[in-house]
Symmetry: D3
Subunit: 279 residues, 6 copies
């Protein structure tokens, strides 16, 4: 299966039944992202989204030093996108708009993926690290993780998702403004306290192991139930409770008809592990 | 007054002036819910909502073992609603849609109740326990409470409110996804840390006592002021700040004309307890 | 510069480059607000918003006893606004509506200010204190701060912003209802736990010093980047993630063209502090 | 079947297969509405909504003179609801709020009815006539229909639905303001031009016949398809196109599985009239 | 009364009881707008909004040739606002943003005015003419009116309101795109057909007379009822029907308590003209 | 240029400077759509969207008989998508959901295209014809066009856009329900009256000529101005006026800096045709 997912800067493996592991693989550059990387990331998650063999996904970085240090600023600055010299400001703006739309869409493909995604934030987790992690469903970090919303330090407001998703992911808007406006580095204790992560492990190895355990647990459930749970929680974040309830009713009108409900209930009564058809 | 509220599976009492206590009363089945129960629950809260003798409400479960273990799955699986065998999938979906709408509406009647509602989550608090508790205003638990969003374990996404209200009630979206996708059991320490409850008491007795104290305090305030506070906070959860401010101004344009403002201010100056007309 | 900001009840100073400090100055009345004060507050923040010499703002109260005890109830009750005796209820309602709209707009001018605002909540911080603090970006308090959403104690639902902004600022809706419905006084430990503040200092002096440090740090960044970060976070609070991303792309289409990006990147490579043009 | 629908002021008949006809029956009072009438109206439409024997509904008034002249003002003014003398303005406001909510909900039950509803607006069609007609799906009138949004003439803004639904039903906001602010009487030519009705017949008899023809045509289609079409159009009116598309996809994910699709396609190829199972 | 409204480029008169007439008065320049003019316009409408002596307002242009030809492009191009040469594109963008916000707010003050406003569109009605007219409530034109959304002809998308309000004011989105994208001149026949105006008169004199008649009619109604009708229609345009109904209920909870209801009903029964207190 | 756009079922030509013409080319099947066709359509419009050589686009059907008869039902019914026999209803629903999402996205690419698109609706224009036409900006038809929202006749609610876009495109919700619920065929007179099209020509040749004239006119304007006009009108359809104004201000903050404004103003003064840089 892994052969279908061959990319220069990503390792994709299947460490457990129905569990995929996507590893950002450019450790010599702290897993910094170039354009080809976010395009590949998008392709990987779009494919896993529809893969019948995947029910939960891990996302981590190769090497011990970083989940990712974010955008490869050097590569970006020599790229064509922002070289708008000579162009009029409106045409430059349009080129930037197209570029940002495309970049955002690639990262949002993690959120749109039908299967739950668990981010293991270890080591340096700057800039794009947070854009990506916030598009994931569950965030786990380590005692050594160094977080930063780095963008103001290069003169811009973060535009690939952090500023749109963070206020809805954590429960302290004062803290959100603090870290977003100062770009200061913070650690896992703080991240856990404000609700950015839900679990802090001793080190990367332990965090990956923990994430794998959670992923395997999710993968053992009905894929209809977990897909629905992810979708309905994402929908509710962006809609009123009334809209959320209505959408839920329509969603389950189809999904509750699954054989999985009968299988799950029966397995529960018989104290055995159910087996669910592929999705 | 309590005589007006006679139901097989609910005890309704009035432990203090303007305070009602609704107790789910099916302890031999861990207070599991059948259809008649949520229909009765709705009736009770719709009546209390307009009762001039009620200004705050407690909701708890009878017995020591459970607030509620949730839906009575056995009863549900033998019921007519989901027996859609032979029907075509669209007609089955429509029957399910009607059923879910009605069930949701019953639970939402707690939220629509004009008077603040305090849930005492003790013992087993699974599935529907959270749907109901999240429709309440204040949540108190005990050191022994066992919480679980149990639905994925029976093959479905929770559809009676938890997935719509939980993301807006707590401040850790990673934790929300974790507990909703894994159905794992968690305790009060975790619930307090992420913001699902605002107070943890030693045991059920203490929690009920504490909830009664809070209810009595709320009941001593102007019922115009507390009704407005509940309504405006619920409204703001589902709207932009701009919309919230506009709605608030219109609301108070009428409500601030109450005699209660003058009475409350005067009582404050005279250091005595005010008395407010019935609402 | 400070001469441009002369008001009876506000001190405006400039303690560091690009940093303004607005101090509520009516300490003998616990900095309680009369109508002229919120009108002046609005003028000050509208001016600072467009001032090229300001990039971050502190808001605190004069004296040790209070940030502010809130509305000057005595002044309000003798004012013309709410003296609607004899008027019919609809005309009274319209007069109140106009008054509340204007009052809300003055406080919202803090939120609309292009520059980040840091509130130092010290001593008594009741009622309007929270309306104002929630319109600020970052909230810091002290071990002695006494918070209260006081409004229900004078017979009304808070209508100047607290009920609209608080549910989106913190991550515990049960706690929000608890403090809003009971008007009980709470301290900084609780405020930090639920996410109302992001930092608690020993006392007012230390809190002002800390706030100044944060303000100076923010003021050292690109003003284009910090303005955008504030704006995009505020926008995202009130919109879906999809809308947030689209607005962000359009915003940055113009703003990323700033010379500040090049200056910031270059300064970063050269390990020196960048200088940014006025905004 | 008609026996199940016995009410003093409504005639319910079934003039064609799967077609119900609801007639407001108080012709001696120009079909003016009292409270019991809108409560009964709600009951009728809630029942028809789930009736497997109904696929389209006509709504008209008994007698030649009026669809309805609206609220029975005399009855309303002697009723308890608005007699708030002596009460404080806030408590009066709360009583009014409860009353308006209930009244609105009754009329909205026409809109929530799963089956399409065709209003035949004939003769006097004032005030509540428009609130009701706008909650219907299709509006037909006659050359003699007299329309008026009458409410400003009794000192109030229409509050049972006209002001919320009219701006989204027609395509001339200047006209909407004109007729709503002046309460002037207008006729069918104008109603057709601005889009309030979609068909004008010579007289009531012809309009009822035409409405019956349309109802019978709708009733001959798949009830799954027509229910969905009504629901999705109503949903889209109140949501963005993006939200409308997403909801549509989820809706049809279940509904397109109906046997009706195969039957309809097959019947089309075979040039015969299909028969669809009950819904 | 008219003395309170003295401006170089506006005539304000009071042609009937409770009726104000605002005339754009720069006929030698086809009533083209400079910055001082929209600032004055805002002041006039904010004042009339709260004036107890005004219940309906006419807006027209002085002279026979134009309502207004729109922005005075020559004045604008020599003004400071858009002279951003040498500035970086982000700082220029911020200056433009501030300018557009302020300009939009001035025009929106017509919409926010509590009293209904009737625009008489005569002669040349280009660009800003439509931005303004769309912020009015009722639009009347003449057989000679020449309309154009002129902005694309000077290289920009209209940004003072036309593109935001037009799609919600008329019922032909294809036509909206046609006239907005081509800037072609169109006449009243077309304007009436698509719903941009609700009445076309022979010439300006007749249109002003007609508008005055409508204004006087509106001014004869309860000012509580007409204010509410305007507000609720504007609110509903921008919200779902469900939100519109809820807001309406809260609005009328206060407003329906007015003495005007009793006076209007009584006058109706007694067939005499009611007199309403000032608002 | 046309060589870049070679597809079996589409002709793409460039009949005028900056004007592209996309022709659906399967006349022997009344231009009915198969899956490959909507995938190709999407590719064509995504490419034209970013093409510097295109400023306006025509969409029409090859041959005289049809714009398109809609989905090729025969092809669809033998395709894999809806063959869900044996699958459980939830898994079938998920397969359908994915399919509908993809199909909708392809058609929405017409709407997302930066350049204005003019649909020429001639001959048979059923089902998908309306989904597509409603995603276009301007709709022109002929005296012989036959329109139908055909979907209920094959047992389903239209799900590729018509039900989401139509209620916002025309100004007669009663008519919308009528044609969507009955699937009846209607003509151009009716389409023009309700606002579905903005122009009716004698026959296809004349309609294509007229559309080309409009396209050429649009193509002669600043591409920055027309792109913005399209985008802001689409945005405003889906948002409140307040949101529309804010988005407009940010959009123009960049776009108004274009050299095109100066060129357009100067050309206007000099009465010559301006030339604009490519976009």
């Amino acid at each position: 299966m892994a052969e279908e997912y061959k990319y220069d800067f990503f390792n994709v493996s299947f460490p457990d039944e129905y569990v995929a592991h996507v590893e950002i693989n450019r450790p010599e550059k702290l897993n910094a992202f170039t354009e080809v990387m976010w395009l590949n990331l998008s392709t990987i998650f779009r494919r896993l989204s529809h893969s019948p063999n995947t029910r939960a996904i891990l996302l981590s970085g190769a090497g011990d030093r970083a989940f990712t240090s974010g955008l490869d600023v050097q590569a970006a600055s020599t790229g064509a996108t922002l070289n708008t010299t000579g162009s009029d400001a409106a045409r430059a703006a349009n080129a930037i708009k197209r570029h940002v739309y495309e970049f955002q869409a690639c990262i949002s493909d993690i959120e749109k993926c039908e299967k739950p995604v668990i981010a293991v934030l270890h080591g340096v987790s700057f800039g794009l690290a947070l854009d990506m992690a916030l598009a994931c469903d569950i965030r786990i970090s380590t005692t050594q993780t160094k977080f930063s919303i780095k963008e103001v330090d290069i003169g811009l407001a973060a535009d690939i998702g952090t500023l749109s998703r963070l206020p809805k992911a954590v429960g302290n808007s004062s803290w959100v403004k603090d870290v977003a406006l100062t770009a200061r580095i913070f650690g896992s204790e703080e991240a856990l306290r404000v609700g950015l992560v839900s679990n802090v492990c001793e080190d990367k190895a332990e965090a990956v192991a923990e994430a794998l355990k959670v992923a395997s647990l999710i993968a053992s459930k009905s894929p209809v139930a977990t897909m629905g749970t992810k979708e309905l929680l994402n929908y509710s974040r962006d809609h009123s409770v009334a809209d959320g309830l209505a959408y839920t009713a329509i969603w389950n009108a189809a999904m509750i008809q699954t054989q999985d409900v009968k299988d799950a209930v029966m397995s529960g009564l018989q104290k055995r592990k159910p087996t669910f058809s592929k999705l």
